[in-house]
Amino acid sequence: MASFFASEFFHNYKRSSSAIIGSALMISFAFAVLVGPFLVAQNPYDIASLNLMDSYKPPMWLPGGEAQFPLGTDGQGRDVWASILYGARISLFIGVVAMVASCFIGTVLGLIAGFYGGIVDSVIMRIADIQLSFPSILIALFLMSAVGTGVDKVLIALTAVGWVVYARTVRGSTLSEIEKEYVQAARVAGLPNHKIIRKHVLPNVLTPLIVIATIQVGTFVLIEASLSFLGVGVPITQPSLGLLIKNGFDVLFSGLWWTSVFPGVAIMMLVFGINLFGDFLRDELNPRLK
């Protein structure tokens, strides 16, 4: 651990304000998501704890606001602040799990395509090319309308959209890695292919993935929010930040702006934080920018 604090990475981190802001935002969100729900009095999805009399209360600093509901309430009397804490949980869960799944599938396919080449490579990469020629939200929309809605379906749609970047990156690095003599040396030593891929190629192609994976969490949070806003995302019983925006959107122009603006600000800060930190990682881990 001491060596980490003495490392060039940490030195540059301390000097980069965008990295500090970005990681601070990410850490606050992680904290809010993990312990937040225990800090608020109301569980917005426990119907028994709701009171319709509390509906459409404005934020506490406006006339009619109450300290009990710092960011106001929605039409069902749900605390917007509590809803954001619960909703960010679902948004981040979807973003992270879909990222891990995409990364795994994309890396495996990219390694196979790069290492074996030939027809396998052509098939995998043509599928990737075709996918990349459509906007990812369109593919996700299409898949969601085919398989139906739900958190698991959103995960499937995001993974189907997200593996492509990993596959292309990993294939490219694999192609340049297997030209290196240590891979030849491993073959000459009699190592079977799966061991060469796992022990020699994989560790050497991982670095660029860290950046892609970080930024992709932000992208996935946004895509999920768009899907939910369009009504094909998560179910109403498990509202993500996107669904909160949609719920508030109906009354946005009646002057009840807080129900959708605050969840929107939350998404913005989350994605902003992830992108700031991702940019810093990209600068740090890309040897060509050094």
Partner: protein, 331 residues
């Protein structure tokens, strides 16, 4: 010296390795034969693009598409490697035949410690337990001249200098006690001052372990120090072979003489270094007759019509030339 014909460790017979590309078939290795006896060092010499490395990879069965071994036999201890399956070949690689590469900067995985990369070979090819493997690694590192071996096992490749890395690569190649080591330009990427150390080390290690070696190089000065006998390749074909002293002192093929003449000589100060005129012909589109005739000072009409066969010459030499040089010939 052991007689090569008695029980050759490796016998390559009429090997043809072709690469089928869109712009034509590249006959990288075209009818090459040679024998290596137990404990012998054979130099495989030629210009770049002459098919030297392809011979090495053919022996290991590591020719990638679009390349293919079209014909020939590669007998290792009497067992044919061309017809052997992938599983059998994998067993032979590293255990019976291993390889030392040109560039020690890229032939070690930058992310694993030296110890781990050595251990991998032993785990694959021996039944030793972890303790015994560790001891074997330390002994091997010490025998290639790396001090504080047990500490150095924990080091990463970037913590070694180029010469040290090549010592590690040699240690890895020797680890499973293979009978044959293929060294593909093992000193080309090294500093001249390190070259002779590494060559001496390889020579000594091979003698100690009773292994044989194919030394692939373009550098005749290196081979003349190391090899028992030399095979000269040109455009994928053997143009001359023989015992090192015969071949170096009085080559009979004009190409070999050209290679020897192009070694700079410190005692004989010339204005220009001597070279072989012209360059290697397009290997996809070789001319009729002798491949070397367009660069050869002795070429005559016959050379354009008929390809020369490998014929016995003076001493131990065999050369493929219609007008071979006799000892003392200058023109």
């Amino acid at each position: 010296m052991t007689k090569a014909d008695d029980h050759p460790l490796l016998s390559v017979r009429n090997l043809r390795t072709y690469f089928h590309t869109f712009s034509g078939t590249v006959k990288a290795v075209d009818g090459v034969s040679f024998d290596i006896g137990q404990g012998e060092v054979m130099g495989l010499v030629g210009e770049s693009g002459g098919g030297k490395s392809v011979v090495g990879f053919s022996i290991l069965g590591l020719i990638d598409s679009p390349g293919r071994i079209e014909d020939g036999e590669i007998l290792l201890n009497g067992k044919d490697l061309v017809t052997a399956g992938e599983a059998a070949l994998r067993d032979i690689r590293g255990r019976n035949v291993s390889m030392v590469f040109q560039d020690p900067m890229t032939s070690l995985n930058p992310l694993h410690t030296v110890g781990r990369q050595m251990d991998e070979v032993l785990r694959l090819h021996t039944d030793l337990d972890a303790r015994a493997r560790h001891v074997a690694c330390i002994e091997m590192l010490e025998s290639v001249g790396i001090s504080r071996a047990s500490e150095r096992l924990k080091s990463y490749p970037h913590q070694f200098s180029g010469g040290m890395r090549q010592r590690v690569v040699i240690a890895i190649a020797l680890l499973a006690r293979p009978g044959l080591i293929i060294a593909d330009e093992p000193t080309t990427a090294l500093d001249v001052t390190i070259q002779s150390q590494i060559l001496k080390l390889m020579r000594q290690q091979i003698a100690e372990k009773g292994a044989s070696m194919i030394l692939i190089t373009h550098d005749l000065a290196v081979v003349s120090e190391m090899a028992d006998h030399i095979t000269v390749l040109y455009c994928g074909k053997v143009v001359e072979r023989g015992l090192t002293r015969d071949l170096i002192s009085a080559p009979s093929h004009p190409y070999t003489r050209g290679l020897i003449a192009s070694i700079p000589d410190a005692t004989d100060r010339q204005d220009r270094l001597s070279q072989i005129p012209g360059s290697v012909p397009d290997i996809r589109n070789l001319p009729m007759g002798c491949n070397f005739r367009e660069r050869c000072p002795r070429a005559q009409a016959l050379c354009a019509q008929q390809e020369p066969e490998l014929m016995p010459q003076h001493g131990s030499l065999r050369a493929a030339c219609h007008f071979p040089l006799a000892p003392g010939d200058t023109a």
